[in-house]
Amino acid sequence: MRILLVEDDTALADAVCSYLLAKAFVVDVATSLAEARGALLSVQYAAVLLDLHLGDGDGLSLLPQVRALREPPIVIVLTARDQVTDRIRGLDAGADDYLIKPYDPAELLARLRAVERRRSANTSPVLQLGTLEIDLAHDRVRKDGNPVVLTQKEWALLRVMATRPERIHTRENLADALYGFGDEADSNTLEVFISRLRRKLGRSHIQTLRGLGYRLSFSADDDE
């Protein structure tokens, strides 16, 4: 898997490089925004590790170009800015993840492995939610060991949520997943599909967070 590291501190860049090389990743280093733009044009990367504070500007300004690529790489922001407002800004700009310096190397590795898994769907792990098993690689869901049959649209929704179980998924986000099916994907239809999914998977496995969105819930023992 090929990774672009955008980082202007050469000492840190070297350290990250040798760490990731030892873990069998191919890493290119760009020390400025300009270099990064050039690299993105010529090479197809799986992930971009992006420092925000660069000599020639804000790392986030690279994101529009990244998103415009045909197969956009995953962007993980690596920064010393630890304020929650910075994080929100970064995620709003389209970054996929956010790690704060000094980050745990193992954590960086875990995020990159997750990217790897998402890219090669065949090796997707089975997500275990209590007695519920979601196998994204084979489009299979089991509840208490028994297979659950889902329609295509229900699968589309579940796939979005199960791929990033650590995220709260906004209504817009989920509606986008339904949009591909050509139907009118307004918020009412979304609610209909969510409630169907709940009926099939168990009420407590999809949590509604009013004002934020929906997420898969691990705790089957619901205390509400």
């Binding site: 630890d82 304020q83 929650v84 407002t85 994080r87 929100i88 993840d97 000094p102 745990d104 954590e107 995020r111 179980p165 650590e166 995220r167 709260i168 949590q207 967070l209 009013r210 004002g211 934020l212 819930s217 691990f218 705790s219 023992d221 205390d223 509400e224």
Partner: protein
């Protein structure tokens, strides 16, 4: 610092006050004098004029009779020079008049009147010449005119006398007034100097509040503000000292451990355990650095924003940070209200730090059990775990600063004091309970914020 204190300098407050007051008092006084002069001038003219009118009424007939009489006596000669009327017995003052015919020949004049005719047109009423104010009356039947005159000099002298009478005392009194004003201003401003002196005495070692009895209202508020500033300064100095002491202590230990481990590793040809140990020590160091950074950020209340904070969004963002770890994802649950949307007034970054610390504590001490972040109406953030909790006595000491929670030796215990500081800066309340209401065991922290 002390040399920048102009006591008698050009620019003293008393001096400025005196100068300004004198200029204004003098100016207003001068205006008043001018108004009085104008009024007096008017009155004098009016009085003199009415006297002229009175004299003309009284003396015209007498003068005509006198003229007849004198004409009879001087029958023989021609009238080249005007006749001079004898002085009246009852007239106490000199009266200047002339009786003139229609061709402006002076027929009769009083002794004091000039020989020539007054240089004014022959029309009834008042008119002015170069040096005379003349009142003219026409005889109804004889074709004669009677002209009474006043020298204008006389009026000017009267006016000048009044003017001098008013301006000379002004000139004399103004310096005196300046002296008095300056002394009064100095006396009243002495209290300001005392205040300045008190403020000057304050230093890093002496931050006692300023107590000066009998301060006027304006200065009392200055004193109060200075006292509040001193209080904040003293607080932040305390924190700085505590932080310095803490930082040294908290950071040296893991640093020493890491160095020892690495040195040992080198000596033993990079033994795996030693390198791992060094890595662990550095991990602790990173964590403590971050905590100290958070603490100092929380303490520097000056940089706190005051904006609307959507608590649901805040809790969602913080929860998602923790959910990155699949193990934590299974343990940590977020609950938000179904109908209300709590919005507080404060600094979203600081509140996120507080919430993050509470969650970290709960995950650490919650005996690997469930942890709940709850956003409650009207405006409360709750973090609850169901671990062993703490005893009543421990709960008591927990809110004191820099007391460590639990028996961990890793030194993570700065967390709750960070939370306490942030809560305090927001004017909010931190409520701790162990066990939480309705639970058998556990620990609950509530940040009760004021709704926006």
């Amino acid at each position: 610092m002390s040399d920048a204190k102009p006591r008698n300098g050009q620019d003293s407050l008393a001096g400025r006050l005196t100068r300004t007051l004198i200029v204004w008092v003098g100016g207003v006084w001068l205006l008043c004098v001018l108004a009085v002069v104008w009024y007096v001038d008017r009155e004098i003219n009016h009085n003199f004029d009415s006297e002229l009118v009175e004299v003309s009424h009284r003396m015209f007939d007498m003068a005509v009779q006198e003229l007849e009489k004198l004409r009879v006596q001087h029958e023989s000669g021609t009238l080249d020079t005007p006749l001079i009327a004898p002085k009246q017995l009852f007239s106490e003052d000199a009266v200047m008049y002339q009786v003139v015919d229609i061709h402006e020949h002076v027929l009769l004049r009083s002794a004091e009147a000039p020989v020539g005719a007054f240089d004014v047109p022959l029309a009834a009423g008042f008119s002015n010449s170069q040096s005379w104010r003349v009142y003219t009356v026409r005889h109804p039947s004889l074709g004669l005119y009677f002209q009474v005159a006043d020298p204008l000099d006389e009026r000017r002298t009267a006016l000048n006398r009044t003017l001098f009478g008013l301006i000379i005392p002004l000139g004399a009194v103004l310096p005196l007034l300046a002296l008095v004003l300056r002394n009064v201003a100095r006396a009243e401003l002495r209290v300001l100097q005392q205040l300045a002196g008190e403020i000057e005495k304050r230093s890093g070692a002496d931050l006692r509040p300023i107590t000066l009895p009998g301060l006027p209202q304006e200065l009392r508020s200055v004193g109060d503000h200075v006292n509040r500033l001193l209080e904040r300064l003293s607080q932040s100095l305390d924190v700085e000292r505590a932080l310095a002491a803490n930082a040294a202590h908290e950071l040296r230990t893991p640093l020493a451990a890491a160095r020892l481990r690495l040195q040992t590793a080198l000596d033993h040809d990079l033994h795996r355990n030693d390198v791992q140990g060094a890595l662990d020590a550095l991990q602790v160091l990173s964590h403590r650095t971050e905590k100290l950074l958070q603490l100092s950020r929380a303490e520097s209340g000056a940089s706190l924003a005051r904006a609307r904070v959507d608590l649901v969004q805040l809790a969602g963002t913080v929860a998602q940070e923790f959910w990155q770890d699949p193990l934590i994802n299974e343990r940590l649950k977020l609950k938000v209200p179904d109908s209300a949307a709590p919005v507080a007034f404060g600094d979203v970054d600081a509140l996120a730090i507080a919430l993050r610390n509470l969650v970290e504590n709960a995950l650490r001490y919650g005996s690997n059990g469930r942890v709940v972040i709850e956003v409650a109406a009207p405006c409360t953030l709750v973090v609850r775990d169901f671990g062993a909790g703490v005893s009543a006595a421990q709960l008591e000491t927990l809110q004191q600063r820099h007391v460590r929670h639990g028996s961990d030796r890793a030194g993570y215990g700065l967390g709750l004091s960070i939370v306490g500081t942030i809560v305090e800066k927001h004017g909010a309340k931190l409520e701790l309970a162990s066990p939480p209401a309705g639970a058998a065991q556990g620990f609950e922290a509530r940040i009760v914020l004021r709704p926006a």
